[in-house]
Structure formats: C-alpha cells, structure tokens
C-alpha cells in the first residue's frame, strides 16, 4: 500500500506541473493585463508599462518567470501578491484552513443528510418515505448554492433582522472552536443551521442521496443479500452490515469528485457569507489579474484534487477487500 501511495503521489507531480504551466501561460495570454489595471483609467504609455512591469517583476521573459515561480512554489514560497504586494504565503496560512474546514464540514453535512435518506429511500422503495426522500434530493439538486445562500441572507434580514457575523469575527477552529463552528454552521445564532457549510453541504447532498439510493437498490437485489435475509438476519443487520459497505463504493468516488465542486462553490458562498477564505480571494484575484495569487491558489486546488483522489482510492481498499494495491 505504501508503495502504491508513493507511486500515486509521484504520478501527481506531472499533473501539477501541467496545471501550473496551463494556469501560468493562460493568465498571460488572457486579454486584459494587470498593467492596465494598475494604471486604471489612465492611458498606459510604453514608459509606464515598462516601469509597472519592472515594479511587479514582470519584465523578464515568461519562461524565466515560470521557472523562477515554480522553483519557489516547490518550497511553498509563492512570492508577493501583484496587487497588494503582501506575501501570498501569509495569506494562504490564514485563508486556506478556513476554506478546507468549511468544505470538509460541507462534505460531512452532505453525507449526514444523503446517506440515511438514500438508504431509507431504497429500503422503503415506493413508500411515502421514498417519495419524500426523492423529492428532497431533486429539490436540493435544483437549488444552486448562490441562490440558497442569498435567500437565507435576504430573508433572515427581512423577517428577523438577523445578520451573519462580520469577517473580523471569524476565528480559526484552534483559536475558538465554538465561535468558529458558529460562523460556519449557525451564523445567525439560535442554533439555526443556515451557515455556509450547511448551504454547500445541502447542495452536494442531492447528488449523493440519489446515488446512494440507486446503489442500495442494486445491492439489495444481490444474491448475498438475499441469503442474509434467508438466514433470518434482522433488517438493520442486512442493510448496515451487508449492503451498505458495497453500496458506498461508487458513492465514495462521487464524494471524491465533489472536491473541485466544493472549491468552485466556496468562491460564491464565501462572498455571500463574508467568509474570509481562499474562494473569495480567488475571485478577486482573477478579476484583478493578480497572476501570482491566482497561480498559487490554482496550484493548491490541483494539489487538493490529486490528494482527494488518492484518498478515495485508499478508501476503496478499505471498503472492498477484493481491491488490493501493490
């Protein structure tokens, strides 16, 4: 297994290099450069352009810039933001844990919602519970995060004069766990679960719920499950101990694939909820053509996707003993 993990990690390196090349050069060929944005409404003369590029360290050939950047990035030194000249590493230290935590909580919430409902829906197929479960999953699938988040903010304010905490109120989980969880789960207080992680989690849960139901239905029709029933095992034992584990394998794959979706969702949800995470930064950095910031975030996102896929594969081995990595 260890050999397999190392092999997968090694295979991730070309992926990351590919992503870094793509992001680096696509940003530079994108119409609309940072020089004009720094100059604002003013006409950029050749002299101005040369000076601004020199100030920003953009006056070298692109390939030289790339090698310099990727070399430093390998040691997690991402340089300075082109926009505010602050170290990107410092900001990553503050924002990355926030987004990771928000996303993990969202994943957890999606599983907590989706797995039980998916199971009940399958076990009680065509019952009222099934119809309700399916309706809920379709409802969750149909609600985009930006809509759901906005509705929550608008109507909480309109009806109850509630507002989420301001960004300055955010504390990391190791600083103040309760305040942190309140920000991400119950931002209005009153134990109303309407925070950014909840919104993201609810949106993800629709897909997982439907897949869980389908897989359970398929597994419940397998011979070994029929045998379990024939042995007179209790329903709970049949479903949880015999069927669930096998039904979860494709679900784990889908959950692993949710990571990029979570990154995309965090961009919107963080803006709506004032979460000082990496998503909001990514969005403003792209608009401002803050090349170094975008490159760093994109590279880390790619790394997260590579790692999440690895975790998914390792989880397979746990769930299905027939799978052996060597």
């Amino acid at each position: 297994m260890r050999q397999y993990i190392f092999k997968r990690l090694a295979l991730g390196v070309p992926t990351l290099i590919g992503v870094s090349l793509l992001v680096f050069f696509m940003l530079r060929v994108l119409p609309g450069d940072i020089v004009q944005q720094v100059a604002g409404d003013n006409l950029v003369t050749d002299e101005d352009r040369a000076r601004i590029e020199r100030d920003l360290g953009l006056d070298k050939p692109a390939y030289q810039e790339y090698f310099s950047w990727i070399g430093n990035a390998a040691t997690f030194d991402f340089g300075l933001s082109l926009r505010d000249r602050q170290p990107i590493g410092d900001r990553l230290q503050r924002t990355l844990p926030t987004t990771i935590e928000m996303s993990l909580l969202a994943l957890l919430i999606s599983l907590v919602i989706a797995v039980p409902i998916g199971i009940i829906s399958a076990v009680r197929q065509d019952s009222i519970a099934d119809y309700v479960g399916r309706s809920v999953s379709i409802g969750f699938l149909a609600m985009p995060t930006f809509w759901l988040g906005t509705m929550i903010i608008v109507y909480s304010s309109e009806w109850f004069r509630w507002a989420t905490p301001l960004p300055r109120d955010y504390e990391q989980i190791w600083e103040n766990p309760w305040a942190n969880l309140k920000f991400l789960l119950f931002p209005f207080g009153h134990f109303v679960p309407a925070g950014p992680s909840v919104v993201l989690g609810v949106s993800l849960s629709g897909t997982v719920m439907r897949l869980m139901r389908t897989q359970m239905l398929e597994v419940l029709r397998q011979d070994y499950v029929r045998t379990a029933w024939a042995k007179g095992l209790r329903e709970r034992s049949v479903v949880v101990r015999h069927a669930l584990k096998n039904a979860l394998i494709p679900v784990v794959t889908v959950v692993g694939l949710q990571v990029p979706i979570l990154v995309g969702g965090s961009v919107i949800v963080e803006s709506i909820y004032n979460v000082p995470g990496i998503g909001q930064w990514f969005f403003t950095a792209i608009i401002a053509r803050d090349y170094t910031a975008v490159q760093a975030i994109a590279l880390l996102t790619a790394l997260a996707v590579v790692l999440s896929n690895l975790i998914v594969d390792i989880t397979y081995a746990y769930l299905d003993p027939r799978i052996r990595y060597s």
């Binding site: 609309g32 720094v38 604002g40 000076r51 906005t150 509630w162 301001l166 960004p167 792209i286 401002a288």
Partner: protein, 590 residues
C-alpha cells in the same frame, strides 16, 4: 416633465425634501466599488469650512469617542501615489494630508461653493504672478507619532519629496503636467510651485484628492513595500490594520492639527472600522441588524431598505459616475460610418428614454445628472440638460423617436436603419454599480425602436477595461462608465485631448482640434468667471456634437444610523477624501 427650476429642485420636489437633498451626503458607491460612508448633517446656517466649523444646529455638543463602522467592497492598494483608483485615494485620506482640500461644511453648502478650495496643510497661498504659487505651511502639522517619523514636523521639503515621487510613479502624474518646478524655502516653511504656463484652476488641481498626498521620505524609504504595508502621514487617523477580505481599521491621531471652532481636538471619533464586504445583500442585512453605521443603498432596493430600517436617515447625493456611450475610434480617426456623422450620434441620444430608464432603476426615479459633466460640480459649473441654458443642444437629450428616425434617414439614406455591435462589461460593473445592468439591458430595445439593431458583445471586466476602455480596440459602440473626475479641467482634458497628450480617457480618440484649442485656452484663463462661462460653452458644444452620448446616472442614496452626527455637506466629485473632508467631524450621540 417641463423645466420648472433647478435640477435639485426637481429631484427633491417629488419625494425627498429639498432641505435633505441639499444637505448632501458623501458618496459610497462609485465606479469601482462601495466605500460606505456617511450622510448629511442637520445644521442649517453654518458656513465655516470643516476644520473650523461648529456643530450643526440642533445636534448638540459633539461627544468624542466611538468607532465608525462602515464598509468597503474593494481595497486596491494603500499608496495614494502609486494608485490610479479613487478608492485608494479616498482611504488614504484617513492617514495622509495634502496642501489644500475642497470646502465642506456642517449642514448646507450653497451650490456656488461646491467647487471651492480650502486650506489644509497650507495656511496661506500667494499667487504673485500667473505662473507662481507660494504655499506657506502651518507650523503645527506633525506626522504621526510613530516610527520612523516619530511625530516630527511636516516641512516644505516633505511636499517637494512627495511631489517628485508622485511625478515619478503616479499613473495620474499627467494631472500635474503644468508644473515646471517645486522648491522648498530654506527655512522649510514655504513651497513654491512654478508653472510652465498659466493654469487658472491650479488650486483646484492641488486640492484634488487624487494627486498631491504628502508622504514622509523616511517612511517610504523604510522598505520596498512600506507604503503598501501600512499608511503613515499627517492625517487625522493612524493606520490600524488591513486584512484582505476582512477589514481595514484606523485609530484617532491624538496630535492631529485641526480643531473645531470651540478649540476641541479633531477628529471626534476614536476610530474607523471598515468591513470588507463584497456582497450587496450582506451589506444591507448588516445595516438592518445594526452592525454598520452607514451604507450605500442601491436605488433598486431603496424601498426594501427603508422598510427594514425605518429609523435610518436616508440622504441623497449626486452620483459621480458618468454613464455614456462611446464610439469606435475609427469613427473620428478614419471618418468611418456610421458614427462619424453627428446626426447618427444625436439620433442615438434621442432614442434613449432617460426618464423611463430612471424609473426602471428606482421607484424614486431621478434625473439626468452628469450630462455631460458631473452634476456634483454644482450649478455654477454644470449645465442642466433639461434647462434652458443648455441651448439648442438640449433637444438631443430629449426622447424623440420621430426626430431620431428622421436624423438617421437623413444621415444614412434609405429607411435609416443599421446594425451595430454594443460592447459592455459583463462582470464587476454589474455587481458594484447597481443600475448598470438595468440600463444595459434596456438599451438594445430602445435603439431597436429607432431602427438600430444592436448585437450585444459582453466582455469580462479585465478584458473590457484593458482592450475596449483602455486601448479603444472595439467596433461599433460601447456602453461604459467613467469614474470620478475631481476637477473640471481633468474632465475636459482627459476626454478630448489627443490620447498621447493628456487625453488618457479619450476612449473614442475624438480629434476635434477646435475643441482642444478651446479647452487649452480655457484652462489658461485666470478669471474664474471667464473659465466658468467657457466651461458652459464647451458643454453646449459637446452636447451638440454628441461625441460621447451620455445615458443616465441616478442619484445616490445613503442610509445611516440617526446616532451619527456631525456629517459634512459633501458635494460630489471633489470631496472623496473620507478622512479629511467627510469624517473629520463625525461623532455619535448617546
């Protein structure tokens, strides 16, 4: 609606009291984002400038203390010399000072004083000849009592250093291109500006919030990124902290040099705390919940905010964005049809139903300010497009489909119909300028009525601002916005001079030699009344030529808690310096 009085009379006659409307609020949202600050004061008869003013009548005695809680959507740097955006300059004014500022008062300021300069770090200005300006500095101005300047006195050499640095690195440096030299007197008390040529509005240019901020050399040279890490000057507030996407804070400068009329230290506030919030719904909900003291209210949501915050005071102000159509540069540089023909441009203007657009934007409606220059300069400088003073050109601002079609037929032959692309920014503007999308969506239908078929060309903001807005590389026409012009001369020069000779915002490369000559001559005049009259003539002239077609800019609404007092009478594009012109006299009642 016929013309019955001044612009502000008409705006306020309908739904907002004139008194409130004229007690102007500061501006929160402008072209690049929403800096949310303050509304109007309650005083009526105070006519002192900010520094020496007394509290507004009926507000009581100012109580020192309290932290103002506002919001800003975007922070693009902290160095006002390096920045081109008004956002940086506006925020820099908490920590930096300049030689002069624009006049603000507690309470009402008559419109003929809206574009009037006032002294700040300078205590006297002499103008011995038309090319020389001598500024005598106040002896009591000190930089913040923080390393590396440690509260030392601000001297003439600091002004010279700041000017040279500005000339070296500022994207706005062309604004001061009329300056030949700047020298400090040996005793450090006077700064002399020598001009290359006469420039009658020179003091207004010096007072602009976008240019001559005084920054100490030791601070700048402390490290390569010192001026981007923090702010350190002689302004009313010490820089506190900045965390991207979180907040920006300042604390009171206890040694600030200005006092109120009673001799009390300014500022009254202990601090400023601006939360960085990008989402409009968040801003509104935070205000409703009482966590923000003042916000900008999108006109489309005015009624909703009023319902949510019934105790809030709502102030109206001229919005300082120019919203306009600009044409493919080849129309002027290569005589390319159809926009080379002024009849076509006039027809496009007449096809725009500005009243209908404003009514779509807000139930409060609005008027047509900022045509062609900012209404915020006041009626002493701005011609009301509905008024009689605009002359014959006023007809081109009136919605008149029949005449528009007739003009198109005369210009193009046949039935006068044609097709053209319309470029616009599909991001950023759409979120930070609350009416942009409403107008943009309406324009194709309005033009279709006149026989102009528009194909929409959405452009991501970065592409738009660089290629279309910045370099003028587009076909057809573009619906765009123009950010604040802090002085009349900047408007005329930027919009109509050749692009490589000061016309940085001449997006269509308008090449009217006669117009350029008239602008140059106007700027060299010394008599303010003569400048004023020629400025009116130029507005009539460009309204006739319709080089750019102004669209609409609704008035701006700000909401504030009734506890916020001592709010100055802000007059639009000239007074964006939040620290020194807007919030210096703010205080909170119990």
């Amino acid at each position: 609606m016929g013309y019955t009085g001044s612009y502000w009379d008409r705006v306020t006659a309908r739904r907002i009291s004139r008194r409130r409307a004229l007690q102007m609020a500061a501006i929160t949202g402008a072209s690049a984002g929403a800096i949310a600050i303050v509304g109007c004061g309650g005083g009526d008869d105070d006519d002192e400038t900010t520094g020496g003013s007394t509290p507004g009548a009926g507000e009581g005695t100012p109580v020192p203390g309290g932290t103002f809680r506002g919001t800003v959507s975007l922070v693009l740097g902290k160095d006002p010399h390096k920045a081109s955006t008004f956002l940086t300059h506006a925020l820099g004014s908490y920590s930096y000072s300049r030689l002069m500022r624009y006049k603000t008062v507690l309470g009402e300021l008559s419109q003929d004083e809206w574009y009037t300069t006032a002294l700040e770090v300078a205590e006297k200005v002499e103008n011995p000849d038309e090319l020389t300006y001598i500024f005598t500095l106040r002896p009591d101005v000190r930089f913040h009592n923080l390393p590396p300047v440690n509260g030392r006195q601000l001297v003439a050499e600091d002004v010279v250093y700041s000017f040279n640095r500005y000339q070296e690195i500022s994207p706005n440096k062309a604004n001061m291109s009329m300056v030949e030299s700047v020298t400090a007197s040996a005793d450090g008390t006077q700064v002399t500006f020598k001009l290359k040529e006469p420039f009658g509005l020179f003091l207004n240019r010096v007072a602009s919030f976008q240019d001559l901020w005084i920054m100490p050399r030791e601070f700048i040279e402390e490290s390569e990124t010192a001026s981007e890490d923090r702010m350190l000057g002689s302004g009313p507030f010490h820089f506190g902290r900045f965390e991207p996407n979180v907040e920006m804070t300042w604390t009171k400068n206890p040694d600030y040099f200005e006092k109120d009329a009673a001799g009390n230290a300014l500022p009254y506030l202990d601090g400023i705390n601006l939360a960085i919030i990008t989402d409009t719904n968040q801003v509104l909900s935070q205000f409703a919940a009482g966590t923000l003291d003042s916000i900008s209210v999108p006109p489309t949501l005015l009624e909703s905010v009023r319902g949510q915050s019934p105790d809030a005071i709502f102030d109206v102000a001229p919005r300082n964005i120019l919203s306009f159509l600009y044409f493919e540069p080849a129309s002027y540089t290569a005589d390319k049809a159809p926009f080379n023909d002024e009849r076509v441009r006039r027809a496009m203007s007449m096809a725009i139903n500005r009243d209908a657009l404003l009514n779509r934007i807000s139930s409060e409606g609005g008027e047509w300010p900022n045509i062609p220059i900012n209404a915020g300069f006041g009626e002493s400088w701005w011609l009301d497009p509905k008024g009689s003073d605009i002359g014959d050109a006023g007809q081109y601002y009136q919605y008149n489909l029949t005449e528009a079609k007739a003009l198109l037929t005369a210009a193009l032959g046949g039935n006068g119909e044609f097709s053209t692309p319309m470029h616009f920014s599909s991001t950023v503007y759409t979120t930070i300028v609350p009416y942009y999308d409403v107008v943009r969506e309406s324009l194709p239908a309005l033009f279709r009525e006149a026989g102009i078929t528009v194909s929409e060309v959405p452009e991501e903001y970065g592409v738009y601002i660089t290629k279309t807005f910045g370099r003028g590389e587009f076909d057809g026409f573009t619906f765009g916005l123009e950010s604040v012009f802090s002085d009349i001369g900047l408007y005329w020069a930027n919009m109509f001079y050749p692009r490589d000779a000061g016309g940085g915002r001449n997006h269509s490369s308008v090449g009217d030699v006669t117009l350029v000559d008239r602008i140059q001559k106007m700027l060299q005049l010394q008599d303010i009344d003569e400048i004023r009259q020629e400025n009116f003539e130029l507005q009539r002239y460009v309204s006739d030529k319709m080089y750019y077609v102004p669209v609409v800019t609704p008035v701006e609404f700000n909401a504030r808690t009734p506890r916020l007092k001592g709010v100055t009478n802000i007059t639009g594009p000239t007074t964006y310096a939040l620290g020194t012109e807007v919030q210096l006299t703010n205080w909170f009642s119990a």
